[in-house]
């Protein structure tokens, strides 16, 4: 095990060294030039919108990072709409009307995505609540631990014991 552990960094270094020396690496498909918007502020906005739209052909890339033809077409449309003075949401709505909500990489907050957006919070609160309950259960037994209870803990303990005798 120890030998294995020592071998790991060596292997890693070799792999990284091999990789860093620039061994040829093929990449995505060929691409053509696209003229950016003349106004850099608008182009930056367009860029941000690209990243929020799914490339429908490649399915797991945004149109910002896809070399597919359709992605290039969609980028052109986004640039046109931004140049025309649409807000970011209007641009996105323009494409949603054609391709559906599915094109949005960041789903909107609405009833059907409620669980998606609130899920993490729910998980955190539920798990946190579970842990809090766990500590409450430990609290009375904590009296036998080395550390003496604080006044607050004493109060909680008494409340808990009262609860139990009442129940």
């Amino acid at each position: 095990m120890a030998a294995l552990a020592l071998a790991l960094p060596v292997v890693l270094t070799l792999v990284l060294a091999l990789a860093l020396t620039g061994v040829p690496a093929p990449a995505a498909r060929a691409f053509a030039y696209e003229a950016p918007l003349a106004n850099p502020k608008l182009e930056a906005r367009a860029d941000a919108i690209f990243a929020s739209l799914r490339c429908l052909v490649c399915q797991n890339e945004s149109i910002a990072e896809s070399d597919a033809d359709l992605a290039a077409d969609l980028r052109r449309i986004v640039r046109e709409r931004v140049a025309k003075g649409d807000t970011d949401d209007q641009v996105r709505q323009y494409l949603v009307a054609r391709y559906g909500e599915w094109i949005l990489l960041k789903p909107r907050f609405e009833p059907r995505t409620l669980l998606l957006w609130l899920g993490p919070l729910f998980l955190l609160v539920a798990a946190g609540g579970g842990i809090a309950v766990y500590f409450r259960h430990l609290a009375p037994a904590g009296a036998s631990a080395t550390a003496p209870l604080s006044a607050e803990e004493e109060r909680r303990l008494r409340a808990l014991l009262d609860d139990e005798s009442a129940g």
């Binding site: 095990m1 120890a2 294995l4 552990a5 790991l8 960094p9 890693l12 792999v15 990284l16 990789a19 860093l20 620039g22 061994v23 040829p24 690496a25 093929p26 990449a27 995505a28 498909r29 060929a30 691409f31 053509a32 030039y33 950016p36 990243a51 929020s52 799914r54 399915q59 797991n60 890339e61 945004s62 910002a64 990072e65 070399d67 559906g100 909500e101 599915w102 094109i103 949005l104 990489l105 960041k106 789903p107 059907r112 995505t113 669980l115 998606l116 957006w117 899920g119 993490p120 998980l123 955190l124 798990a127 946190g128 842990i131 430990l138 037994a141 904590g142 036998s144 631990a145 550390a147």
Partner: protein
């Protein structure tokens, strides 16, 4: 002939696995030592047989035996030898073969080096592990047999996807599998412990090294995969929140939580049923990832060929393995005794917080990955869950996690002084505040994420250093004494500091490269110069070049800084004929300070070429941070303390492995010793 030997060896391996999955378990239940001992010899035999089968498949690929379907579908005469070997696992059937091989390797490792485990525990671990082998061998033989023949044999094969012909990609799956499959050890140990009805600090010590090994491999596998995406996909992105990436991230998050909760079991003999559950969930998430990638239920750029029959099989296997283990858990876990007690504000409390946040992160990634599927299945509506979602939910969870990472190690076991711990981080707090102000001023008017990122980086890096300095009493005792203390510090302390700082470095790379990169996208003619940050990229010219199985147009960029040459970059557009595909190959000059990244695209017909140029400061720290995390894990692995559970240390006089505290030679076992915990306030 050779493929038949491989096929036969695989079938024989299945038979051996059936023996290994039954007799030792029965033996352990009856207390029959001879039957228990069968486990070890069976595990070694299983490994040899699977290795033979794997070797036969590799041979078929290397000599381009086109009478084998798997070779025809994934290989080609002209393919370089490296990719013929790597091509074995570059496809669904072969990757199952590799998965089985690694699984058998871990089993054999337990058999060979697990001499210090109690016989019944070892027999049970091997027995449980064998059932996973049975599942995978059956899956391979029934639905995805790599040894099938084709008659008549075609003259040549279909070739390998050019995107996959790359050393970074070729060699990261074995690391990922070493990680995924390694977690099967924790899974097997957890089930064995549930069967035995006993979880104690000794158990945690046996599990921890195996979990660490798997975690190190998975860390490096993910790091390599991300690096591959960075230089291959040609946009400078390095993480896409793709289902396949998420499938590797979920076991990593759960495994990280497991490493931390196992510490609590080991030191304080508590949090047992949670740790058992985590050990089972970590491997279950590895299996789930396999299902998601191979069944085609989720669309992914990396996905293997889709076959619903395979999906049904893996689903059945998941229900059997994970459902079975969770049922065992529901039945046996309530009888596990609650161990040492602690207050919420304590080292244990901090580790519980770590587990809470990591588990929530893991659950969030799972939710985001499966939500489109769930919505479609329940309502028939489609929704996309992409990077903007993940970024917006993961970052808020990372903040408290990183915040606690600096404080936790400064807390004492059982009951700690939070104010005291924070007081010792005054310097980190002050510098983080300065970093916030400086970053805020630099990016004024822009996003506040870089400010947050820099605060986390400074807080975590400095917090880790302060904790380390306190531990070696830097500046409070003479320097030589501090060095001596550092030298004698348990390796796991070093490991923790390095791994925690590794995460800090990764966040540093993400923040800086995400905020201060420059790019140039445009058309350039030979002789044109583009300016990015302090650099000037001049397109010197283009030339046709020929590779082993492609033709390419190679551009030459001379990069200078203040007139001084810095680098020459050679990006290419490549044309592969088998299968026909045009790709671009980025040229990257990496350095610790910044990466220079050039991609060349189509000719515009007027002598110019579409180009993408990037300068990305500190971007390589994203992966160097990953390497540091792995290094920290590997250092921890060499800790003396873990040798109780570590294989190959039979010479140690072991009294009773179930009670490590009984051994006076292991002072670190005592959580009250300053080496084990951080120096407490009165000592500082």
């Amino acid at each position: 002939m050779i493929p038949e030997i491989g096929h036969y060896a695989a079938i024989l391996a299945l038979a051996v696995a059936l023996v290994q999955g039954t007799l030792p378990l029965i033996g352990a239940a009856r207390g029959d030592r001879a039957w228990m001992a069968i486990g070890s010899s069976a595990a070694i035999t299983l490994f040899l047989l699977v290795a033979l089968a794997y070797g036969c498949l590799t041979w078929a690929h290397v000599v381009s035996d086109f009478s084998v379907v798997n070779v025809v579908e994934n290989s080609h005469h002209d393919k370089p030898l490296l990719y013929k070997i790597a091509g074995v696992w570059g496809n669904h059937e072969g990757s199952l073969m590799l998965w089985s091989l690694i699984l058998a390797l871990y089993g054999a490792a337990v058999a060979l080096f697990g001499g210090n485990l109690p016989a019944s525990l070892r027999a049970r671990v091997l027995g449980v592990q064998a059932w996973i082998s049975i599942g995978f061998l059956l899956f391979m033989l029934l639905t995805s047999n790599p040894f099938l023949r084709l008659f008549p044999a075609p003259p040549d094969g279909n070739g390998l996807n050019p995107l996959l012909q790359d050393p970074g990609l070729a060699f990261h799956p074995p690391f990922l599998y070493l990680g995924y499959v390694g977690f099967s050890m924790a899974f097997a140990f957890a089930i064995a412990a549930l069967i035995e009805g006993k979880v104690d600090p000794a158990w945690a010590r046996w599990v921890r090294p195996w979990t660490l090994v798997a975690w190190c491999f998975l860390t490096i596998g993910i790091t390599m995969g991300s690096w591959w995406a960075y230089y291959t996909l040609g946009w400078g992105g390095w993480w896409y929140w793709d289902p396949v990436e998420n499938a590797s991230l979920m076991p990593w998050l759960a495994g990280t939580a497991l490493l931390h909760s196992a510490i609590v079991v080991e030191k304080r003999d508590t949090l047992k049923s949670w740790t058992i559950l985590l050990a089972m969930l970590t491997f279950s998430l590895s299996l789930l990832g396999t299902f998601l990638v191979r069944s085609g239920v989720l669309t992914s750029v990396h996905a293997f060929a889709v076959d619903p029959k395979r999906g049904v099989f893996i689903l059945g296997f998941l229900v059997f393995a994970v459902g079975g283990s969770l049922a065992l858990y529901a039945w046996r876990a309530p009888s596990l005794k609650i161990g040492g007690l602690f207050q919420p504000i304590s080292r244990e409390g901090a580790l519980v917080l770590n587990n809470l946040l990591l588990a929530t992160l893991c659950g969030t990634v799972l939710l985001g990955t499966l939500y489109p599927l769930a919505l479609d299945a329940l309502t028939g509506q489609q929704v996309s869950v992409g990077p903007p979602y993940f970024n917006s939910v993961v970052i808020p969870l990372m903040v408290p996690l990183v915040g606690a990472m600096a404080v936790g190690p400064l807390m004492a076991w059982k009951r700690a002084d939070l104010a005291g711990a924070l007081a010792r981080l005054k310097a980190a707090f002050a510098l983080a505040a300065i970093a916030a102000l400086v970053t805020f001023w630099t990016v004024y008017g822009g996003s506040l994420l870089p400010v947050l990122g820099m605060v986390l980086v400074v807080w975590l890096l400095l917090g880790s250093l302060i904790e380390f300095a306190l531990r070696v009493r830097l500046f409070t005792v003479p320097l030589t004494q501090s060095v001596a203390r550092a030298w004698h510090l348990p390796r796991s302390s070093w490991g923790m500091t390095i791994a925690h700082m590794g995460l800090g470095l990764t966040i540093l790379g993400i923040t800086i490269s995400g905020t201060w990169s420059s790019d140039h996208l445009g058309v350039m003619r030979p002789g044109d110069t583009a300016h990015l940050g302090p650099y000037a990229f001049t397109l010197a010219g283009t030339a046709p070049v020929k590779g082993p199985n492609f033709t390419a147009r190679q551009a030459t960029f001379d990069v200078t800084r203040d007139g001084e040459p810095v680098a020459i970059l050679h990006p290419e557009t490549r044309h592969f004929t088998v299968p026909p595909m045009d790709t671009t190959k980025a040229a990257i000059r990496s350095s610790p300070f910044d990466d220079l990244y050039a991609v060349i695209g189509d000719a515009d017909g007027h002598g110019g070429y579409a180009v993408r140029l990037y300068q990305k400061p500190l971007v390589s720290w994203i992966w160097l941070g990953g390497a540091a995390m792995m290094l920290g894990g590997a250092l921890s692995l060499t800790d003396r303390r873990l040798r109780v559970g570590a294989p190959g240390r039979k010479r140690r006089p072991e009294a009773d492995p179930h009670r490590p505290e009984a051994d006076p030679h292991r002072p670190e076992a005592d959580p009250h010793r300053p080496e084990a915990g951080p120096p407490r306030l009165q000592e500082a």
